[in-house]
Symmetry: C2
Subunit: 478 residues, 2 copies
């Protein structure tokens, strides 16, 4: 029996959201499971999405003066241990190299879980004077964290990311950098990925190991759970001191620079799936779609149809769109289902009657809207339709976020809302970790962040009744 490839049905997202998610990852050919447990393979289509994210994000980083570097994949244990909080945070998840060739190593080496330590070690070599500051570095690579339970994109023993690492002359400058990069992520999510975000600061309990402050963007998925989509950390001079990074300041004294780091990962692809996907499969925002427009001939055996469709595809490519044509002998139904599964934002159909009428049909992936388009309008209309996809995706996601964000004034109300509605619950908070733990215990929600956009919901912490210090957004998180 010949092995044949089929477009298969995926699980209904209302029935089993987790299975629906996994189905999309596999059937849209984004990933494959590797033979090493908990690791993933990014297949061409999945990697092409990541390449688009990389290209667009990297350009943003470079606009603000960041430079890329490459650091070693292995970190000596002694180096990793110099900063206590960091190593305590990561030690349980580190994979260790203990053999090089046939020799046992004298010191075991960590497969990098994050590279603050390497950057500090390097800066300790190369930094001399305040004139060389700031150093604004970034690297694109993969990191390994030995997670217990894994899911493609969301939590994997290896994932691909960028990690920005910077050092600055003053604390203020480093703080500005931390916030600037968080806003860079937020703008990227909103403008490129069509995902609205909540920007805010993590509580001490939720912040990055070793950081003085962690800022985050939190997105809401279609199942109303939260996904932390990128973070930005301010370290003060803690790592500089631990790793002996110094420079000669303007006053000719030896000083410690102030440091930041910030990261975003292939998890963003998981966020896109769960923000925009539907029961027909993936739905991709146009800017990151490997194929933005798929041209499908209708009744392609009829004379002239293939040639006519090819002209459309060529014109769209010439206009700068990532367009592709499918001339395979698969049925029209198969093709439509296939490109819906893969989330191609716009489908252009052309059949014999369309040719006669000098038109084609455009079908938007996100809402199925069909438009008959005069051929002289092809390029202009394709641009408008892709914009409509982008706007439509953002609008739907924004409504999802707004309609599932609730304010609560008591712990009981928060529990009730979480149980009955799900989503993000906003409450005031006294700042005490005990209350944070109690919310987790009783309502099953962790603090997602203290949003920059604060509201005065009430005057007291709904958990302990003490005076409130800040508003927190709570949620069930991936």
């Amino acid at each position: 029996m010949a092995k044949e490839k089929k477009v298969q049905q995926i699980t209904d997202m209302e029935e089993d959201f987790a299975q629906w998610y996994t189905d999309i990852c596999l059937k849209a050919e984004l990933v494959d499971y590797a033979s090493v447990k908990g690791f993933m393979i990014l297949r061409p289509y999945g990697y092409a999405i990541w390449e688009n994210i990389q290209r667009l994000m990297d350009a943003k980083f470079k606009e603000t003066g960041h430079e890329n570097v490459a650091m070693p994949v292995l970190i000596p244990e002694s180096l990793l241990k110099k900063e206590g909080e960091l190593v305590n945070g990561f030690a349980p998840e580190v994979a260790w190299v203990t053999m090089g060739g046939s020799e046992k190593l004298e010191e075991r080496l960590a497969l990098r879980p994050t590279s603050e330590t390497m950057f500090c070690d390097h800066w300790a070599h190369v930094l001399h004077s305040y004139r060389e500051l700031p150093m604004l570095y970034n690297q694109w690579c993969s990191v390994v964290r030995w997670e217990k339970t894994t899911r493609p994109f969301l939590r994997s023993r290896e994932f691909w990311w960028q990690e920005g690492h910077t050092i600055h002359e003053t604390a203020e400058e480093a703080q500005r950098e931390t916030e600037q990069q968080l806003n860079c992520y937020a703008d990227f999510c909103e403008n490129v990925l069509a995902m609205p975000v909540v920007r805010g600061r993590k509580t001490d309990k939720e912040k990055f190991a070793g950081a003085e402050a962690t800022y985050t963007i939190e997105c809401m998925m279609k199942d109303h759970k939260a996904l932390q989509s990128a973070t930005s950390h301010y370290f003060g001079d803690k790592f500089s001191r631990a790793y002996g990074v110094t420079f000669t300041g303007r006053d000719n004294t030896l000083q410690y620079p102030f440091q930041t780091s910030w990261g975003s990962t292939t998890r963003l692809i998981g966020a896109v799936i769960m923000t925009h996907g539907d029961n027909s499969g993936l739905v991709l925002p146009p800017q990151i779609a490997p194929v933005q427009i798929i041209v499908v001939p209708v009744a392609q055996h009829k004379p002239g149809v293939v040639e006519g469709a090819q002209v459309l595809c060529d014109r769209l490519k010439a206009a700068g769109f990532r367009a592709k044509i499918d001339l395979s002998d698969n049925s029209l139904g198969w093709k439509c289902a296939q490109y819906e599964m893969k989330g191609v934002p716009l489908r252009v159909e052309m059949g014999p009657r369309d040719m006669e009428n000098g038109q084609c049909v455009m079908v938007r992936r996100n809402d199925g809207e069909k438009t008959f388009v005069r051929l002289e309008e092809l390029e202009a209309e394709a641009g408008r339709q892709l914009e409509a996809v982008q706007t439509g995706l953002y609008e739907t996601a924004r409504r999802n976020l707004e309609e599932h964000t609730y304010a609560a004034r008591t712990l009981e109300e928060a529990k009730q809302l979480q149980k009955e509605k799900g989503g993000f619950i906003k409450t005031m908070w006294c700042g005490d970790e005990a209350c944070e733990l109690k919310m987790k215990e009783e309502a099953g929600m962790s603090s997602r962040c203290m949003p920059f956009a604060q509201e005065q919901i009430s005057d007291v912490c709904p958990i302990c009744g003490k005076p409130a210090k800040t508003m927190v957004v709570w949620g069930v998180a991936y």
Copy 2:
């Protein structure tokens, strides 16, 4: 005492070529040594060169239908061992992960030294039909090989590379791919890196572990030693059989695809240093130079000079050149030395008298040639000058290669030539490994390749006197 950064002298290349090389790597700020022995850090300037190489080469790969993917960094020992020759070739150099978090792993995992095994394992999952062939994959990543002696770019325990992996329906198609990709590398070296190459096939002794045939491009460095700059391998269906990669063929039977792999690495940067560098530092071919044109104001305290120079820089940028201006308060001499060290292909100087005369001065990095340029000619002349740098670099390297390639008819002659002249020695060869070993033993040269461009130097093998089968190029290699 304040720490200050200085442009320092580098070792004379005629005195100590190895030290000269290391000096450039460090003083042009390409690399830093990492705290893990034998590992390197690619600093912003070094990584920017690699990014340019990646961007240009990746575009070439994509033009011929290749797609990027990402494979796991770890390979289970059992998977690595399925193909005997490959694992025998790499086993002594593999770094092993034996601990994940605090748990000892049941099976140790190799930090990938190369990924044939992972690609095969993946293809065994996803390949079904001949319709899906060829699969033309590539990945950009780093690999780890536990080398004993290391040098930046040339031999390092971790290096960055691309590894192409493809499978095909027929042997002929796979063979064509192997040669196509070798020619892609050769053209890249010649047209982008300005390095002439010798294209050919490796002897069985020198081929890749597990390959049926390995093709190579060999470049000659300024010290007349050989550098293998990229390789392309044909595997037949050996790995497919070992890893159970099958597809349903046109005749509905289960078949094994034919496979290739091909790779090039950050070693290319080492090749560029040793092909074009001089006693003032690095010399970069324009297409990979992070900064193509440096604009330096002369007597910048004089009124209008800074503004005038800035206009030049802006115009050059607007014309698409990677141009930069140095307005720091360092001396003109310091600046010139600094950008020579960093290999910037073209320097544009402008002082008060130039402004009066409506001109600037262009100085080529490779030959120091100065040209006075009317300002209205700025962009056009910059283009011509960069082309002249490219041509000049290639021409010098070509002369080096030609003038240090010798034909020998006897082993004695080969030994003599190697001893007195160095470089590439061409001889005939019977095809016997014993003769290859004898050449190594007596003349200290390994076979670099059997060039595609064959010559009939004599009729017999100069080592054993038996009938000659092919011409071989011998050399001392990095």
